[in-house]
């Protein structure tokens, strides 16, 4: 479905996974934040990354679209394949990568532009000028995140006028508008009220037939509700990964069980 166009040699993989992480270690200067991680994410699934604060969840999710490139002294060892392509290969165009691997952040961060311009942004920076096409996509994306009915009369208004939950859905719409194949979300609901949280969970559930999701969350119920697979991290190590059902009812490692219990209790 997703074509991988590459100059020169194509890195071949047998599997059809959306993301394949092989022996990944990452460093902030001398500090090793992730230690020899191996993880596979299947297309059209939701994978939850859980674990105590500081265990490296954000580091990992930000590796997947190279958002850590801007941090001085950050370094990666091992391989990260997205749709079979090694994203840390020198030939990779980072901007193109991020169009395929979109990201939603913890705090809603709409641009200081109108609602319409926020969603249209990704298309416009790609040089797309066709008005009807952009309009169509904006409407479609806003409908996908179930925001359309709330904003359809105010598309020209500044996005800062929206509530936090609406802003976060707008940010998701902005990401979806460029039709990425993978959507990364780093604690997307931690700044939101329960109703907005439920809306976003619902939306992820609806959209996973079209996108691959990787979600960091501290909310165990949320991980249990929306994810197909769960990966538990502890101090930079991937302790356990498996079907969410199994991780939550019958974890293979004691530490996972303690963490999940503790978070539930």
């Amino acid at each position: 479905m997703t074509e991988t166009k590459q100059h020169g040699e194509t890195v071949q993989t047998e599997s059809r996974s959306a993301i394949e992480i092989r022996n990944l270690s990452t460093y902030y200067g001398d500090f090793r934040a992730l230690d020899d991680i191996n993880l596979t994410v299947d297309p059209m699934t939701v994978t939850a990354l859980i674990g105590p604060s500081g265990c490296g969840k954000s580091t990992l999710i930000r590796v997947l679209n190279r958002m850590n490139d801007y941090i001085d002294g950050f370094r990666v060892e091992g391989q990260v394949l997205v749709d079979g392509q090694d994203i840390y290969d020198k030939k990779v165009n980072v901007e193109q990568l991020r169009k395929r691997v979109g990201m939603v952040f913890q705090k809603p961060n709409p641009f200081p532009k109108s609602i319409f311009e926020n969603v249209a942004y990704g298309l416009k920076i790609q040089g797309i000028k066709e008005k009807s096409f952009i309009e169509e996509r904006v409407v479609k994306s806003l409908q996908q995140v179930v925001l359309w009915d709330e904003v359809k009369d105010n598309l020209k208004k500044n996005a800062f006028g929206l509530s936090g939950g609406q802003q976060q859905r707008l940010c998701i719409a902005r990401t979806l508008a460029v039709e990425p194949s993978i959507v990364l979300m780093d604690e997307p609901t931690s700044a939101l009220d329960p109703i907005s949280t439920a809306k976003i969970e619902e939306l992820v559930f609806e959209l996973k037939s079209q996108y691959t999701f990787v979600i960091v969350t501290h909310n165990m119920q949320q991980a249990a509700r929306i994810s197909d697979k769960t990966a538990f991290f502890y101090m930079g190590n991937l302790i356990e990964v498996g079907d969410t059902q199994q991780i939550f009812t019958n974890p293979g490692v004691k530490r996972t069980e303690y963490y999940i219990r503790g978070q539930f209790g």
């Binding site: 901007e95 705090k107 200081p112 942004y121 990704g122």
Partner: protein, 292 residues
């Protein structure tokens, strides 16, 4: 003990504030007083509409327009040069350069602002003007162009420093959003960071204009002393400030009509900067409503 010294400090601060207010009031008072006397001899209509300014000649004309056009012309040249250059430097320092480069270049740039303006004036006269004359035939020895350009160089640090602060204040989360959408550095800088910092940048530009309008030494040295109603930057002109210097330093008898022209010119200058500052405040408020 501590309470007592606090009282003294408070008193000192109050005296300082009072002194400032009184000084301003006094300046404005003198300016107004002399201006009123001036306008008992010269009609306001003549002052505002006559196209010549020749108070020191036998055939006297008191039209402020030539001086005003001189001020506006040099300011336009200075702004047209300093705003793009200053902004590009600010964006480069903020979005592209490494931290070390920035920590070296920014203080150096701010040093430009510490150069005495008389040095700039001299620089305009002996270096920039001959250089420009090599490129533009017909450029006079004194002109709005070279004075304006050098004034522009002088103003760059103001524009850069203030817009850099505004860019720096844009939250990192916005840049992150832009990069996360696949924006290049250029797109992030010009489509997201700069618009988000626009209110601060506008204030920077307005302050730069204010500074250009009030600048005296450079234009007195390099722009000429010929009041002329023109928008041609290649010929000698005279600005309001340069005229005030010319008369203040000259041998015009005090208490004469000729001498009072500098107060009328001064109050015009005051009105101009006042207008500009008000516009700056208004714009700032308008943008704040839009972005907060």
């Amino acid at each position: 003990m501590a309470r007592k010294s606090e009282k003294y400090i408070e008193g000192g601060l109050f005296a300082g504030a009072l002194f400032t207010v009184l000084t301003t009031a006094l300046i404005l008072g003198v300016l107004l007083y002399e201006t009123v006397i001036f306008f008992s001899d010269v009609s306001i209509v003549e002052f505002l509409t006559d196209r010549q300014w020749t108070p020191l000649f036998d055939e006297k004309h008191f039209g402020i327009l030539p001086l005003l056009s001189g001020t506006i012309l040099t300011t336009l040249v200075a702004i047209a040069f300093s705003v793009p250059v200053g902004l590009v430097i600010a964006i480069y320092l903020n979005e592209y350069s490494g931290r070390r480069f920035r920590s070296i270049v920014k203080p150096m740039l701010e040093m430009l602002a510490a150069v005495p303006t008389v040095v700039y004036g001299f620089f305009a006269l002996v270096i920039i003007t001959p250089f420009l004359q090599g490129i533009i035939p017909g450029l006079a020895g004194f002109s709005a162009l070279s004075a304006g350009l050098v004034m522009g160089i002088m103003i760059i640090p103001y524009v850069t420093s203030l817009s850099e602060d505004a860019l720096f204040a844009v939250p990192y989360s916005l840049r992150e959003a832009a990069y996360g959408m696949g924006s290049t550095r250029f797109q992030t800088a010009f489509r997201v960071t700069l618009p988000a910092a626009s209110s601060g940048v506008i204030v920077a530009i307005i302050l730069a204009i204010s500074r250009a309008i009030g600048e005296t030494m450079i234009v007195a040295i390099a722009a000429g002393q010929q009041p002329r109603l023109t928008m041609n930057p290649l010929v000698p002109i005279e600005t309001i400030t340069a005229y005030i210097v010319q008369v203040s330093l000259g041998d015009v008898p005090h208490n004469s009509l000729e001498y009072r022209t500098i107060f009328a010119a001064g109050i015009t200058l005051f009105a101009l900067t006042f207008l500009l500052n008000s516009m700056g405040n208004w714009l700032r408020k308008k943008f704040r409503e839009k972005y907060d």
